[in-house]
Symmetry: C2
Subunit: 154 residues, 2 copies
Amino acid sequence: MASSAYPAMAAHNLELDDLFSGTFQSVMRIEERALDNRYTQGLTITDIHTIVAVGLYERNPMNVCATRLDVTLATLTTAVNKLEKLGYVRRERSQEDRRKVLLSLTTQGRKAYRAHLLFHKRMISEALNGLTSEEQRVLAHALAKVKSFFDARA
Amino acid sequence: MASSAYPAMAAHNLELDDLFSGTFQSVMRIEERALDNRYTQGLTITDIHTIVAVGLYERNPMNVCATRLDVTLATLTTAVNKLEKLGYVRRERSQEDRRKVLLSLTTQGRKAYRAHLLFHKRMISEALNGLTSEEQRVLAHALAKVKSFFDARA
DNA sequence: ATAAAATACTTTGAAACTCTAACAAAATTA
DNA sequence: TAATTTTGTTAGAGTTTCAAAGTATTTTAT
């Protein structure tokens, strides 16, 4: 299961760089496995990300969702084609601006959203159980820092 | 640039769960942008991961590299086809066991490896500039714990 | 010793995800 | 009102991945 693709070392010798890559990959793998849920059956990680980008109780134009996902409109169109056919996402023409296609989640789509979110929260909170609250604080602080650093140059 | 696809919140309100997803995506995006380096031109993230899995001064059978990457042999075969053609990776039949194909990096492959590694280290160290070394220690410890938690159920 | 099974890898064919470029429709601007 | 911009879809192609079938080599069991 290839914990990290980088040479194996004792945990205390792993540098932060390797830890970040490794941890993220591990989380991703687990996330994929959680998709045989009753509410997310037959969906891929990409589908879930699309559902999340549509938003729980929002009606967003393609535009907005594509930006959230950092993909082109063409990509989102095909993604939505699938999810609309499967009954997770709804398409409506905007009345104010008839160029726009507004996306929203169906009831089934909201169930999938919540199932994924719940799983995610549970995973993370279990994983963090072993940490002291000091460790949790530092971890949150560091992650926020790393993220904002990267976002600043994106 | 879609920092996270999840609703925007102030950094201090972000939960660890969102931080993980968000940070991960941000790092990935930046990592991709760093690939127009002199030594990594024309390579994708996947290619870099493959190069890393081959190892700097190792001669590993396909088998081992595929496991490190958590992909099938078929997948690795096509990946190596490309990298061999481009001159980053070398294939040799093992003399001890002629079923085995041993992979190693060419000089060019090692340059790409080092360029990527350097970039990565620099990114992370810059990003963590604001943390005290004590905080960095705690962070490393916390990440290692989280990672091992996830690996245990992979 | 040799037949059967296992191992290591490649090839083939297909699916998922992505993009660019060309197109169409509606709204805005000149 | 004509030109431009915005919003989205379609068409065509590239990349990455896998499962299944096939090849070559080694190991195991008889």
